[in-house]
Amino acid sequence: MSAPVFTARALTKIYRMGEAEVHALRGVDLEIRAGEFIVLLGPSGSGKSTLLNILGGLDTPTTGDVHFLEHQLTGAGEAELTRYRREHVGFVFQFYNLIPSLTTRENVELVTDIAAAPMRAAEALAWVGLAERLDHFPSQLSGGEQQRVAIARAIAKRPQVLLCDEPTGALDYETGKLVLEVIAKINAELGTTAMVITHNAAISGMADRVLRLGNGRIVGEEKPARKLTPAEISW
């Protein structure tokens, strides 16, 4: 078995919302190994986004301990976290978050310009099947195409992990499947560890491991007997 990419121990996260305290995580222990395809399932408010944000270096836990490889993420300063995101993490968002003033190629170059050993922007876009649309602006692309650009942007720096928060949430069925295919292909062929948050239980068939969250805790863990391809799942 490969070495763990992420190790988390007794993670808690408490938000202050005015007078009230919100316990987003109530003690999460976790180990993710290199190359794994993880699906995080759970209802709204179960803590899955909080967990992903902490693993991605966007947020810090209230208590507990997180390691990425040999780096300790807990206690890291803002500048360190920024460097961590820049060097190791690829993000894919529900609403793509492309820069409207940049073309497809330039959105990817935005990241390759600041990465240590990136692939060429055209290569990343070829990976997601958009080699032909390099000079289009986001406003000229469909939702699925925009999400594929976002994935290309995320993988172009050759990150160790790809973190996807509801990547298909804003897409229709066909387009959503296309996007999942791209993520699965990257996981399989580049060996990038992938973590996908979803409301959609059908997607869990693609995973090596499914983590179910509820009320700030991991309430279940499944390992599908056979990993399905995106073509094989439906919802």
Binding site: A79, P100, S101, T103, F137
Partner: protein
């Protein structure tokens, strides 16, 4: 409180920094306007009030020596209501310890009777006791400038005899609100006006039963010009020097010039401030209304009529304007009081009535409110027109296109970050243009307000180093033989001496006339040169008269025309003179002839009346003492003392105006840059936070936002230089320039200073916004759509 008003208060609170920065820009506009215009109206009112209560004369005339019996004929002049004759004499004044000579103007007065006009106001001490010999009152400013005490003695050379006078009181007079030996420069230290017993003065100068100065008050509606003509005719046989109305009386002329300058400063610069404030308010309200599309849609869906929604946003604008107006009125009052303080150092009124008129407040605030409503309404109209359902949807995604330079094939020159900056600029050209215009406006205000130092320094350099190169000027009481030159040249410390002749004259052309002096200069003169604005030297052509361009224009003559010259001295020759040319001199209304030509025209021999000396500074005190003992040398002026006094007075004014204008311009610049940055940040927070998630550092993200502002500032500064240059041209053109013409001189440090102030304002704004960039919500953007 209605819930819509509660929303208004919360919106205002959440945008408080922006609200304050805009209110401050408006306050600068209103404050500048009120401060300047109220100083202007207060000066006008104060002068009028003083002239009325002190019964200031309407017409002034001087002669060599006229018999007292002539006074009855003056009474008969049509329109004259009161006449007063008196003896006025200039004399050398000395105070122990002061080396450069001073001039005292002695005015004969009867202290037992209140004069009918030009009444004195006693400021301190007492009136001279009747019959007490040698007691005098002095103009208050001289006493202050020289730090003298009442009871102190001063020495005056009366007709060759040194007299000791005692200062017993200080007074103010409408005749010397601005006291000067004749030039347009403040002269309090070197020029004293003394009121002495009329009989003693007449006795000292052999003027018993005679006078040499006439004052006339006129009935309402009577023409001062006609009265002056009549006076001239009557005084002609007695060596009249030409009568003038108030408009040409030295003190009033300088005061009027200053008042009209104040009027121009009070209107042009505040107008620009208000314009810029309107610009910013327009942009901010536009953005504010657009950002609240969804809320407006919800209000519409709930059944609020368009009118209520429009009123809600107009209230938002009104609150900002009100804040600005209140601060502006306070600022204006402060500014007006401070400017008044500066004026009262130069202009001496017994009381100064500073007052802000209600119409000035209404005009300033009204202009700001109109500008604000203009901006708000344009934005409100756009949103109110939307159907509720349409407004509830987010606006269509921003569309971008390749840059102009990329379409030309230079795409490779730019990094993605640079492209983002450029494309954002290209996509909203109007907003970028408004921002650039606002910043350029503040650069221009700074330049047009501070270049005066350059212009005045240049002017002083030209006048005192290039035109008048003599360090000491000597004026003789009566014309003397040309041989005086040799006598002067032999005095200790004199390195070079040069003489000229000045004859008072009234020049006429058709119905126009002007009283000045014709200066006769030697062909080889080097200590006094006739230079135009471009420093080209002119010489009067043989047989003709060379006129300052302004004088030629006033007389309506051109080279080749003839003017009639009526000399007011000696044989009082009256004859035609050919205008041989004109010269655009910076100062004065001068007429120049060759020395020989002038003497021939005056039908006199080789006579001179003024000498210029180049001296050895080490021996200057000795020289000045010798000159004080020369009875013929009636007036001795050390140019350096004039320049020094001028610099002291103007340095304070310049410092004040530079500080005020810099503060105003910086406020505008911060208002424009900061608000623009905040709007940009609000619009692009989502995009910038996304980049932070992707691993961009705070610095890198800041560059994207602030880089755009940096480019706008970089573009605005040269434009501001250009605008400042033209604004300076405009201000100079609007300035009254009868006496002097200020050159358009703007030196590089002035440009540099203006640019630096605006860059500093930009940096401050950037730092405030930078704090917000550092605290972008990274988690939020993952879950929300733009």
């Amino acid at each position: 409180m209605k819930s819509l008003d509660r929303k208004l208060l919360r919106d205002l609170w959440s945008l408080k920094t922006q609200v304050v920065s805009i209110a401050l820009v408006i306050a600068c506009g209103i404050g500048g306007f009120i401060g300047s215009i109220s100083t202007y109206t207060s000066l006008l009112w104060t002068r009028q009030h003083y002239y009325d209560t002190a019964r200031f004369a309407h017409v002034f005339a001087t002669a060599k020596r006229a018999p007292a019996s002539l006074e009855q004929k003056f009474q008969a002049i049509p329109g004259a209501s009161e006449v007063e004759t008196r003896v006025v004499q200039d004399a050398q004044l000395s105070i122990p310890g002061v080396v450069p000579p001073m001039i005292a103007r002695l005015i004969g007065s009867d202290f037992t009777h209140l004069p009918g006009m030009n009444r004195l106001t006693l400021k301190s001490g007492r009136w001279p006791a009747p019959g007490a010999k040698g007691e005098v009152v002095v103009n208050q400013r001289f006493l202050e400038a020289r730090s003298l005490r009442l009871g102190q003695h001063i020495n005056v050379l009366l007709n060759g005899k040194l007299e000791r006078l005692t200062l017993v009181g200080t007074v103010l007079t409408p005749e010397y609100i601005y006291a000067t030996r004749g030039g347009g420069m403040p002269d309090d230290e070197w020029f004293a006006v003394l009121w002495v017993d009329a009989q003693s003065l007449a006795a000292a100068f052999n003027m018993e039963g005679a006078f040499n100065s006439v004052l006339l008050r006129l009935q309402r509606g009577a023409s001062p010009e006609a009265a002056a003509e009549a006076l001239d005719r009557l005084l002609e046989p007695y060596g009249g020097f030409g009568a003038v109305g108030r408009a040409d009386q030295v003190s009033d002329k300088i005061l009027s010039q200053e008042i009209s300058q104040q009027k121009i400063f009070g209107t042009v610069l505040p107008a620009i401030f208000l314009l810029v404030a309107a610009f910013i308010l327009n942009v901010v309200l536009h953005r504010q209304v657009n950002a609240q599309r969804a809320e407006i849609a919800a209000l519409k869906a709930l059944g609020y009529p368009d009118r209520d929604i429009a009123v809600h946003y107009l209230k938002f604008a009104s609150v900002i304007v009100l804040l600005g107006a209140v601060t502006g009125v306070w600022l204006g009052n402060w500014l007006g009081t401070a400017m008044t303080g500066l004026y009262t150092e130069v202009f001496h009124f017994p009381e100064y009535h500073y007052r802000v008129e209600p119409w000035q407040i209404l005009a300033g605030a009204g202009a700001a409110l109109a500008a604000a409503f203009g901006g708000a309404l344009a934005a409100i109209r756009g949103v109110v027109r939307l159907r509720a359902a349409e407004a509830l949807r987010p606006p269509a995604p921003a569309e971008f296109r390749p840059l102009f330079i990329e379409r030309l094939g230079y795409a490779g020159l730019l990094t993605p970050a640079q492209r983002m900056i450029m494309r954002n600029l290209e996509r909203k050209p109007l907003r970028a243009a408004i921002t650039v215009a606002g910043i350029a406006g503040s650069v221009a205000i700074l330049i047009s307000g501070t270049f005066w130092t350059d212009a005045i320094n240049w002017f002083m350099d030209v006048q005192f180093n290039r035109v008048q190169r003599a360090q000491v000027n000597v004026g003789f009481a009566e014309p003397v033989s040309h041989d005086a030159l040799w006598e002067l040249a032999r005095l200790p410390g004199v390195k070079q001496a040069e003489v000229m002749r000045a004859i008072p004259v009234r020049l006429r052309a058709g119905h126009r006339s002007y009283r000045t002096a014709i200066n006769g200069v030697a062909d080889d003169a080097v200590l006094l040169r006739i230079l135009d604005a471009e420093l080209r030297e002119s010489k009067p052509a043989p047989g003709g008269v060379l006129l300052t361009t302004r004088l030629a224009e006033r007389l309506g003559v051109a080279p080749g025309d003839e003017v009639v010259a009526e000399l007011l001295e000696g044989k009082r020759v009256k004859a035609g003179l050919r205008v041989s040319g004109t010269v655009r001199e910076l100062a004065g209304m001068n007429a120049w002839m060759r020395l020989e030509d002038l003497n021939r025209f005056a039908r006199e021999g080789a006579m001179v009346s003024v000498a210029g000396l180049l001296v050895d500074r080490a021996q200057e005190p000795v020289l000045l003492e010798r000159l004080k003992q020369m009875p013929a040398a009636a007036v001795v002026i050390v140019n350096r003392t004039l320049v020094d006094t001028f610099r002291e007075t103007s340095a304070k004014n310049i410092l004040f105006f530079t500080a005020v204008l810099s503060a105003f311009a910086a406020t505008i610049a911060v208002g424009v840059v900061y608000n623009n940055a905040r709007i940009q940040l609000a619009e692009r927070a989502w995009e910038l936070a996304s980049l932070r998630v992707l691993g961009f550092t705070r610095g890198e993200v800041s560059v994207l936002l602030l880089g755009e502002l940096g480019l706008e500032i970089a573009a605005a500064i040269p434009l501001g230089f250009l605008a400042g240059f033209w604004l300076a041209v405009l201000l100079l053109a609007l300035m009254p320039h009868e006496m002097v013409e200020f050159p358009l001189v703007i030196l590089p440090p002035t440009y540099l200073y203006a640019g630096a102030v605006v860059v500093a304002a930009g940096v401050v704004s950037a730092l405030i916004v930078r704090n917000r960039i550092d605290n972008l919500d990274l988690v939020g953007v993952l879950k929300t759509r733009e």
